[in-house]
């Protein structure tokens, strides 16, 4: 029987390890609901507060407010998620076990970005129907579900791809979570801007919506490639930083 080429085997192994790591995170999450509960309740609070504040806006102002509410909520929930996405690895130092094991570094990145994306999409599953209920201007979300899903997926993916890279670096190097936000917001701004403008065109029924969506796809691909390329050096470099930190804490032998 002919053997598959090495690249195919490697890709299959990468996909399998990514799934195993993501499943591991989801399994633990399903047991303690730590991340989901925090992000979910936070989303609800943001939605209710924005809803109460802006529900009386006129019909012309609403289409301008709704995209801002949606992506601001994603930015808040995203930063909350990213500060905790490597918590399990940080607390038990399991990241070093993964790095020493025959695991593709890229699989670690893809699994973490995938879980972040899943959490963000879960929050959007609360946000989008909530916005439709609270604002008349959000009705196109319900009328064009496929376009809405594509938009939300691509916007959240853009946030998760770049955010996971910096969350890994800062969590393993002992960087303070406040640093994550300081670095994260400027870097995710392009993704959020693209997503915001695309959302406005969707709500306005602008014919250029597909064009904006294509640009979001391009941004996603660019960020994914750059993050995947940088992830190993960020991770291995900071694992060294982690060991230096331990030494300075007097644990070096």
């Amino acid at each position: 029987m002919p053997q598959p080429p090495a690249a195919t085997t490697s890709l299959r192994s990468l996909a399998r390890q990514t799934w195993l790591l993501a499943r591991n995170d989801l399994r633990q999450e399903m047991r303690d609901f730590e991340l989901v509960a925090t992000a979910g309740f936070f989303t609800l609070v943001v939605l209710v507060m924005f809803g109460l504040s802006f529900s009386t806006l006129g019909r012309y102002a609403q289409p301008m407010a709704v995209p801002g509410i949606l992506w601001l909520a994603v930015a808040f929930v995203g930063s909350l998620t990213l500060t905790r996405i490597f918590d399990r690895e940080r607390e038990a130092d399991t990241l070093r076990a993964l790095l020493a094991a025959p695991v593709h570094r890229l699989a670690i990145y893809l699994a973490k970005a995938g879980v972040t994306l899943a959490v963000l999409l879960g929050c959007c599953a609360i946000l989008v129907p909530g916005l439709v209920l609270m604002f008349d201007a959000a009705a196109p979300f319900a009328e064009r579900p496929l376009a809405t899903f594509s938009l939300v997926f691509l916007g959240c993916a853009a946030y998760a791809t770049i955010g996971t890279l910096f969350a890994a670096g800062l969590s393993t190097s002992g960087g303070k979570n406040v640093l994550l936000s300081v670095i994260l917001y400027p870097l995710t701004s392009p993704a959020l801007m693209f997503a915001l403008v695309s959302t406005r065109t969707l709500l306005d029924g602008h014919p250029g919506f597909e064009g904006y969506l294509s640009q979001l796809v391009a941004l996603d691909i660019l960020q994914l490639v750059v993050s995947a390329w940088l992830f190993e050096s960020v991770l291995v470099g900071t694992a060294g930083g982690s060991s230096r930190r331990k030494r300075s804490a007097g644990r070096r032998t």
Partner: protein, 264 residues
């Protein structure tokens, strides 16, 4: 077991040639030469800050060396590639286990990550039994004692059937039966051809389980047998080395000159 033959015809899973490590201006390791052959347990001793954990981290690929050459199975490996990581396992004193998973799930996760897609899952049952953890196989690791975690971390390492096992302070938190169990397991694995490099401050345990001891001091491997010192710590290391009757960074076995130095 693969790898090229080292001195004396033994297979050499690990060889370090002139390995050094700097953090900025601080030189933590300097020109370390070390070989570990198959079926050999090498003890790495030294005071706090001597560079033991750094050396193990470099071998495991968690830190890049600043200079020198690292060889696995006789082949130079500037970076620790997947294939090399498949052949080695690293157990540290932090155990690095997921507290939110059971012991069996922890084993299964890492066994599955190691296996090719079509390989059957390595059954963790016998390993857990061998390390006295079968009664706790389905308990959350977060509820384990420190010693149990240490044993589970060892089980996880052995599940991958490595050729080279790196142990950083493996005796930490182990009670007397736990230490005995660890010594027995290491002896069995040595008989199977496993090469082990372990660091410890516990000189008694080192003498019990290792074939030879190397001493790191100030980032250098030095001849502990010839140490002249009044420092009790250094004298203990010298005693440990002399207890085994040798010092040699190169395998296999003691060199005539080292043995002579010890005898003298």
């Amino acid at each position: 077991m693969s790898g090229e033959a080292g001195q004396g015809g033994a297979i050499t899973p690990l060889a370090l040639h002139g390995v050094g490590k700097r953090f900025g201006r601080l030189a933590v390791l300097r020109a370390v030469d070390l070989e570990v052959v198959a079926g050999e347990i090498v003890g790495l001793v030294g005071a706090n800050g001597s560079g033991k954990t750094t050396l193990l981290s470099i071998v495991a690929g968690l830190l890049p060396q600043s200079e020198g050459e690292r060889c696995f199975g006789g082949r130079p490996s500037p970076t620790v590639e997947m294939e090399h990581r498949r052949r080695l396992a690293f157990v540290t004193h932090t155990t690095q286990l997921y507290g939110g998973l059971t012991a069996r799930e922890n084993l299964k996760l890492f066994a599955e990550l190691r296996c090719a897609a079509d390989a059957p899952w390595i059954d963790g049952g016998p390993l857990l039994e061998r390390l006295g953890l079968s009664h706790a196989a389905d308990r959350m690791v977060g509820t384990f004692s420190r010693g149990m975690m240490q044993r589970l971390a060892l089980a996880r390492a052995l599940a991958g059937r490595p050729e080279l096992l790196l142990l950083d302070e493996p005796f930490t938190s182990l009670d007397r039966p736990g230490r005995r169990l660890l010594a027995e397991v290491l002896a069995e694995e040595r008989a199977r051809g496993l090469a082990v490099l372990l660091s410890s401050h516990d000189t008694d345990a080192i003498i019990e389980v290792t074939d030879r001891v190397v001493l790191l001091e100030g980032g250098r491997l030095i001849d502990a047998a010839a140490l002249e010192s009044d420092d009790p710590e250094r004298l203990r290391y010298r005693a440990a080395v002399q207890g085994l009757g040798l010092f040699s960074a190169r395998s296999p076995g003691p060199s005539a000159s080292s043995t002579a130095a010890v005898s003298a």
